[in-house]
């Protein structure tokens, strides 16, 4: 009989000391190439209350648009000072913060270039499986043709796009788990 997938279970409330290490929310080193950005946000539940015990992870390509992984064989530069993985816990206000760089564009299906994005996983007490979403960037021309973004109803699409004033290094990305303005989550 073929092996079957091991079921998912919640991360629970007590992961902190084991999974969260100081500095895991900072993806950049002095020599990392690319435009520095800070992504800040909050995770909010169906009552509008902050989710104070969540873990959020990000995975992204480097500034050239290449993932630091054997299966990304694009002829783009790898950045030895950038891996692309970060992890943070939400605080007593449900807030999280990452220091990273804006990723370059990566090809999607049929060779169509995807808009620059950051892949996100969210784990928490009460989440029996992780939630996956993506952070896109405001005013990126590739957003108009991104095969993921354009399949989403326009009124929900905005939940995937970080907000930030022009030329600002600080982007805001809130995650609403349930209810009005619920963030779009993906079946990955």
């Amino acid at each position: 009989m073929a092996p079957r997938q091991t079921p998912s279970q919640t991360v629970g409330p007590f992961f902190g000391p084991s999974l969260i290490e100081a500095g895991s929310e900072n993806l950049v080193r002095p020599k990392t190439r690319g435009d520095r950005i800070v992504i800040e946000g909050r995770i909010i539940d169906g009552d509008g209350a902050p989710v104070i015990d969540a873990m959020i992870e990000i995975w992204q390509a480097n500034a050239e648009g290449r993932y630091d992984h054997l299966e990304d064989d694009q002829e783009k530069l790898l950045d030895p000072a950038f891996h692309g993985y970060g992890r943070a816990a939400t605080d007593a206000h449900g807030a999280f913060r990452f220091e990273t760089i804006k990723p370059g564009a990566v090809p999607g299906t049929d060779g169509v270039l995807q808009a620059p994005h950051i892949n996100v996983s969210i784990f928490a007490r009460g989440l029996l499986k992780r939630l996956c979403t993506r952070i896109y960037f405001p005013d990126d021309p590739l957003n108009e043709t991104d095969l993921v973004l354009i399949t989403i109803a326009p009124e929900r699409r905005a939940t995937l796009i970080a907000s930030g004033v022009c030329n600002s290094k600080v982007m805001r990305f809130d995650v609403i788990l349930q209810g009005a303005n619920e963030t779009v989550f993906f079946d990955v």
């Binding site: 997938q5 279970q9 084991s18 992984h69 299966e71 349930q178």
Partner: protein, 232 residues
């Protein structure tokens, strides 16, 4: 050629909303998930090297200059995919309550003793055959506030990455014969009985070390590759 990963097995995994588990009520999304095709974003993922593993990460029974109290156990198993292919050099993170059923976490207010010689945190990499092994003490059961007289069965939390973003998994390992399993809303959120059984480790006399520690086996199956190649 690159290929995508198989999707989450709908019989294996719990739903987001599970009435008996109160914390899901305000946290489960109401909209259905939107399925996206696998691209480089989903088939790539973070990698971790062995340099991450520190002394003590694979033996939780000694911490802070002393020996943890409790029943010493050995947990071992293999991490494979749905085709039975071993997943080598992948990181497992583990965390658990101490023998008295208390986590070394500031928010755990259960009035059971903390053990100064038990952190409850470990890390291990699978070897080239996908095998892992660590030594710990058997975690205690503890009460929680989900419903009247609610207790979590003995369990160890596992976090795995596998080869790509799509294969990430966090789960819990349970112990055979635990009477609380039948009453636990988290364990029973998994609708399929056969799937639930895959989270229960098996006692293993081969892993057991005479005069030292009982052994358990816990096999972990991550998603396999899809047979259809990924469109590029």
């Amino acid at each position: 050629m690159m290929s995508s990963y198989r999707r989450g097995d709908i019989e294996a995994h719990p739903p987001y909303a599970h009435e008996a588990y109160a914390s899901t009520h305000k946290r489960a999304p109401r909209h259905p998930l939107i399925r996206i095709a696998h691209t480089l974003s989903e088939i790539t993922g973070p990698r971790f090297g062995r340099e991450l593993i520190r002394a003590g990460d694979i033996d939780l029974t000694h911490f802070n200059g002393g020996e943890a109290i409790g029943e010493r156990i050995i947990v071992r198993g293999r991490v494979i995919d749905e085709d039975g292919k071993p997943i080598p050099e992948t990181l497992l993170e583990i965390w658990q309550a101490n023998a008295a059923g208390r986590y070394a976490h500031p928010d755990d207010q259960h009035p059971a003793p903390l053990d100064p010689h038990f952190s409850g945190n470990g890390r291990v990499m699978t070897d080239t055959r996908g095998e892992y092994r660590f030594v710990t003490i058997k975690p205690g059961a503890y009460p929680w506030r989900n419903h009247h007289n609610a207790w979590r069965p003995n369990h160890i939390h596992f976090s795995l990455f596998g080869p790509g973003f799509a294969t990430r998994l966090i789960t819990q390992m349970y112990f055979p014969g635990d009477p609380i399993l039948a009453l636990d809303p988290i364990f029973n959120s998994i609708p399929d009985e056969a799937a639930r059984k895959r989270l229960v480790a098996s006692f293993d006399i081969e892993t057991t070390i005479p005069d030292h520690a009982l052994g358990y086996r816990f096999e972990i199956v991550l998603r396999g590759r899809d047979s259809t190649p990924m469109e590029r």
